[in-house]
């Protein structure tokens, strides 16, 4: 128990530190690499909490695929224009503050509305059959949400293809 708590707090510090670095370093590639470390920390936290399957999927999907794409695209583009667009003007500054306030409010609301974890009982047998249980739940109780998420991803993919086929692509000047 004490080891789990130690692991949890050290991993949390790890995640918070690298998340902070992600949003403060000026170089976008470094920022993406810090985000990768944050994702790995998240996977470690899941593993530490006994959710081994989710930890593995976190590694494969976010750290292994999504972030590789991020880093690759960041290296591929000439980022001088993007660096300049991180302007320090009053309007964009206030927009940034508003966006972060909105995000903080949403996070607080989510925490306030969630179930108190102290009242939850851990299931008797987790690690042995957790993957099977996740699969059964996804395809019975949460089937609709699961399929809707799939459709959402499809919409995003179609949208990306449509945007990239526009004249000038995502860097269109007009």
């Amino acid at each position: 128990m004490i080891y789990e708590a130690l692991g949890f707090y050290s991993l949390s510090l790890f995640i918070l530190f690298f998340a902070y670095k992600t949003i403060t370093v000026p170089n976008p590639v470094h920022s993406a690499l810090y985000l990768v470390l944050t994702m790995m920390g998240l996977a470690g936290t899941f593993f530490n909490l006994g959710a081994e399957f989710i930890a593995g999927v976190q590694l494969i999907v976010y750290a292994g695929a999504v972030m590789v794409l991020f880093v690759m695209v960041l290296m591929l583009f000439d980022l001088k224009a993007e660096l300049r667009s991180f302007s320090r003007g009053l309007l964009s500054g206030s927009l940034k503050v508003m966006a972060s306030a909105l995000l903080a409010g949403m996070a607080l609301g989510a925490i306030k509305n969630s179930v108190d974890p102290a009242g939850l009982q851990p299931p008797a047998e987790i690690s042995a059959n957790a993957t099977r249980q996740i699969g059964v739940l996804l395809y019975t109780q949460y089937l609709f949400a699961f399929e809707v998420l799939g459709v959402l991803l499809l919409v995003v993919a179609v949208g990306v293809v449509a945007v990239s086929r526009m004249k000038g692509g995502t860097h269109a000047k007009h």
Binding site: A55, V57, I60, V68
Partner: protein, 386 residues
Amino acid sequence: MGSDWFEFTVNFIKMILIFLMMVQIVPLLVWVERRGSAFIQNRLGPNRVGPLGLMQLLADAVKFLTKEEFVPARGHSMLFYLAPIAAMIPATLALAAIPLSVPIHVEAFEWLGQNWGPYVFKFQGYDFGIGIVFVLGVSSLAAYALLLAGYASNNKYALFGALRASAQTISYELAMGLSIVGVILLFGTFSFSEMVTAQAHALSFSFFGQPVEISWLPNWGIFYQPLGALILFAAMFAEANRLPFDLPEAEGELVAGYHTEYSGFKFNMFFIGEYGHMLVASALMVIFYFGGYTLYPWLTPATVSSWFADLSPTKASLFTALVLHVVLLLKIVVFLWIFIWARWTLPRFRYDQLMDLGWRKMLPWALFNTVVTAIAILVMRHQWGQ
């Protein structure tokens, strides 16, 4: 890690030994690669240093350690040092999660005036409950080493190599993951050792609900999943950046690709990472499709332990594990040789051919394999006429 100091120490030594096994197999593989390629191309290869040129490995090691250490002046020196380390970590972690033989059961014994045991030592670095997902997860991180190396070098060739590597890894990872789904469905488990246990008896399946058993064939995954095995093996070549998929380091176009600026031991660490990947890939092929550390009908845990029936249970368990470990190693060596053989036989793909193969051929076929396997399992295992 363990409940007392004995178990803790043994587990710790075991982890180090498995890591050293990966590192030490690299010089041998380099030797096999150089001599093997020489024989394939009708030359002699390195044969001057020591018997059969085997001491060439030591000479290479000395060369790697004494070369000038070089960091590009305008590169990112921190990331430049980080990349070779990142190259070794995924293969090491993945190998640690693969069971290399049956667990060793140690009976309770008395030593140094204390009672110890009984213990069960798994023949692997660390047993993650979801072995397959973990191995896929950590080996998907291998792309970062190449990306970091290419970016930190501040060299156009290196950057091109890194970009190609990441595009290739992402493209082939999908096909790789999907090709394994068939095997997972078939054996119904995410654990490597359960998968091997399922393959340690005679070929038996149900044909439209009727049980069929063929006693002279082992219950290997290759008999059910030939397409999955082929796709996985091809994708493994791409993941390990071996010819015909070695576009990230294509010598003719990119000097040496992502490791253009690396010399000495840092270059060697990329090398160890690549060969470690080959080792993990071969081990996965053997465990998924070729019976792992068993060889039905001669060498299964039951038959091998019956050889040592008159020894004490601890010794019998230890020797059984060692014999089965040798079985696994021999099978892995066969696949490692196929890796080397293919490298000196096939020409490199063109870049568009590579992408075409990954997205338009292997991915649809892997999807097809998954769907057909699922339907076949449903139809075949259904109890018809009841």
